[in-house]
């Protein structure tokens, strides 16, 4: 394991310190817990948005704290959901009197920890709502499972719910638009190489020199199956076939597109994938309204990527276009 760290146990703590050194005008940290909030928190008269999850997904989630997006990010240990006390402190710190929306990715651990925190905050009389993001189409939905995972599409929830909250909307309205995003959001990913949790010290799985993992999550957990390596065009087609069929996306639909790098895949390759996605969508007569190519929700140094489509209507378009100013997401 070759990593630019000092001590595997201190990774999150030291990362937060470095984050605050980098963005002193954007962020501050709460005392005693790994929670990062807007410098100006709480923003009076605005619904507070709290998200978070395990660390290792940088720039998610702390990078999205700022004007037009989140109010707080709770940072768990690497790939481990944050704890209820952290989330509870975050809720208290960002409640500007209009209540707080929790944006949770659908993992057992995340859901349980956030809901415990919600109960605690409600006992204090704070209005708290939640939405659960489940955009990953890799895993078949079934009554036996707990629904799908939340992956990179979560960033669109942050962006759009964030813009709505910034407009001064009520908690119920912010929640509603977040749920509309979630309903229209589909993603899927794949990996070329695994990643290594610093405290574990070795890769969570291994892949042969010619093998790829399809349907990968964002925590180094295995995907749905393995295949021999193939071209960018073929890989994109495999992911897109599942994504597009799922909602379904229809003729002349307008979408926001995210081609998200998982960590080690060069931006040049993400642009090649973006070309393939666009050509695929032209073939389906689905129109790309806005594109995001880059590392938005990573999985440490994993090599691979995910594709996200969000079906848009006029409301979502306007909120997506609204300005935002956070460390990792700026829009003029």
């Amino acid at each position: 394991m070759k990593k630019l760290i000092n001590n595997p146990e201190e990774v999150v703590k030291e990362m937060v310190t470095g984050l605050l050194y980098a963005y002193p005008t954007y962020l501050k940290k709460l005392d005693n817990v790994d929670v990062v909030v807007r410098k100006t928190s709480p923003v009076e008269g605005k619904v507070g948005l709290v998200s978070g999850g395990g660390s290792g997904h940088e720039p998610a989630h702390a990078g999205y704290v700022g004007k037009g997006m989140l109010d707080a990010a709770c940072l768990g240990a690497v790939f481990t959901s944050p704890t209820p006390d952290q989330i509870y402190e975050a809720i208290k710190a960002v409640d500007g009197g209009k209540g707080v929306l929790l944006i949770i990715k659908n993992y057992t651990g995340d859901v349980m920890n956030f809901e415990m925190a919600k109960e605690m905050a409600e006992m204090d009389g704070i209005k708290v709502s939640e939405v659960i993001v489940n955009d990953d189409v890799a895993v078949e939905n079934s009554t036996y499972t707990q629904g799908r995972r939340g992956i990179a599409g979560t960033v669109f929830v942050h962006k759009i719910a964030g813009a709505k909250a910034e407009e001064g909307a009520e908690l119920e309205e912010v929640k509603e638009v977040a749920e509309k995003v979630i309903k229209n959001l589909r993603s899927m990913g794949m990996a070329f190489t695994p990643c290594t949790v610093p405290a574990a010290g070795k890769p969570s799985f291994t892949l042969d020199e010619d093998e790829i993992e399809i349907g990968i999550g964002i925590h180094g957990e295995p995907g749905t199956h393995r295949e021999k390596i193939k071209s960018a065009k073929e890989i994109v087609a495999e992911l897109m076939d599942k994504i597009v069929a799922d909602l379904p996306f229809n003729d002349a639909d307008e979408v926001a597109l995210m081609v998200n790098g998982l960590g080690a895949t060069p931006l040049s390759e993400l642009f090649i994938a973006n070309k393939e996605v666009n050509e695929y969508l032209v073939g389906k007569n689905i129109n790309v309204y806005k594109t995001f190519v880059g590392e938005y929700m990573t999985s440490l140094e994993m090599s691979g990527f995910s594709i996200t489509l969000l079906k848009l209507d006029e409301e979502l378009k306007a909120l997506l276009d609204a300005s935002a100013d956070t460390p990792a997401f700026k829009q003029l």
């Binding site: 790939f79 651990g109 707990q146 749905t224």
Partner: protein, 216 residues
Amino acid sequence: MMILMLTKSDVTNILDVIIKIIEDNRQYLTDLDAAIGDADHGINLDRGFKAVRDKMTQFLDKDIGTILKNVGMVLVSTVGGASGPLYGTFFMRMGNAVSGKSVLDENDIVAMFEAGLSGIKERGKAQFGDKTMIDAMEPALNELKKALSEGRNLKEAIGAAANAAYNGVLMTKDIAAKKGRASYLGERSIGHQDPGATSAYLMIKTVADYVDKLQQ
């Protein structure tokens, strides 16, 4: 006939051993989680139980119920992931069930285990056969109750419970996960042992071994 009871110092001694056992099995539990999860179960629990060790002196003068509740609260605020709220709830509910006590008899032990397990089920909405920690805990609880009702002593009953937990762990190898992160793997989770069931077994086995060595 002498009746075996667990004193407060028995409880804290057992906690000490559990902390040690989790530390020793940190890598093993993490490796199990790597196969079907996200490679952190051992790391998570070890972080949590180390925090318990650090904070133990703050509540060591309290009754058993309060001690267990505090252990649960420390776990909730340090473990994270799925196992944090689940084991945290488990210990908190156990503590609640024996609130104020400084010694535990058979009935207390059954009651607290029962309370803890139902806490896990409420919180995680899983049931036996979903390939979770419940697959070790529920057979253990059932066996404990059965053995005691058949008139076997606590040593024997807890020993039998640990065996049942072990069989539960083995069973998790043969089934697909329906809850937790491993459920996303579907059929691919078959063939792998559940990390949470394994950690639950390790804790139950620790209790059994400790009780077994007590002078009756």
